[in-house]
Amino acid sequence: MTHAAATVDQMRPPYPAERGLDVYNTKLGMWVFLASEVMFFAALIGTYVILRFGAPGEWARPGIVLNIKITAFNTFLLICSSVSMVKAYAAIQDGDPKKMRFWLLLTILGGASFVGIQVYEYIHLIEHGFVPSGVREGSELAELVAKGTLPAATMGLYGSTFFHVTCGVISMTYLYLTKALPGKYSKADYGGIETVGLYWHFVDLVWIILFTIVYLI
């Protein structure tokens, strides 16, 4: 046992510790995770752009089936929920847990409404024959698909955002019920709010880019 420990020490000679990023571990972990998420969405968006602009015919514009006004409202809703999230963060920084709970609850409601509207859009798309595995035979979109539209690419982008927003809503609800409501956050300890906030703002940021690429261009 002693011999093994000595061998390990020889393999890893002591090295002086350096000052790091000066942020707590959860926050650093979230930033590393978000950096990997950038590459994840880069792959998705890159694939979508290549398929869309390389399609042999005209790509079916989302506005043909979906109501762009509703999606624009959904985008605005997500932006509003980002503001309420940062207000929750500011409130707990000021040592006001009551205000923090109010803003966090508003953020959860905003996120849940966004998810609800997305579910409505999926149902609408499926009703029109636009399903992830392809387009239903004889549906009004079948002709557009023959021109080059690939439902899987579009649904992949929608689905990823939907999954991320849903994860965010679940995480915030968990924090609200287990930490915020019992009063575990204070002016000295609000790391959970900041970390989940970073994730939520990132999801908002990704949707801002996706809304432009999928719906407006």
Partner: protein, 91 residues
Amino acid sequence: METAHKRPNYILIWVYLAVLTAAELALAFELPISRNLKLLLLLFLAIWKAALVGLFFMHLKFERWNLRIMAVIPLPLAVIFILAGMSEHIW
């Protein structure tokens, strides 16, 4: 955990984001300009909005420089990845 920087006006950032979103919609559906110019302007507005969220809501503007570098490094890599994929398609 206390922050030393002056807190930004979050409501003002929200107003900027709302105005930029309205500008995007007007540009996409109302303004009669060429498709390429429209594409460039829409991308510019989207990046502007994303930058506002990153800098002020995620507080990157006020973080230490080494954390900022860590957050920004994947972005050029993502652009290289997308451009490489597009050039593969063109070839």
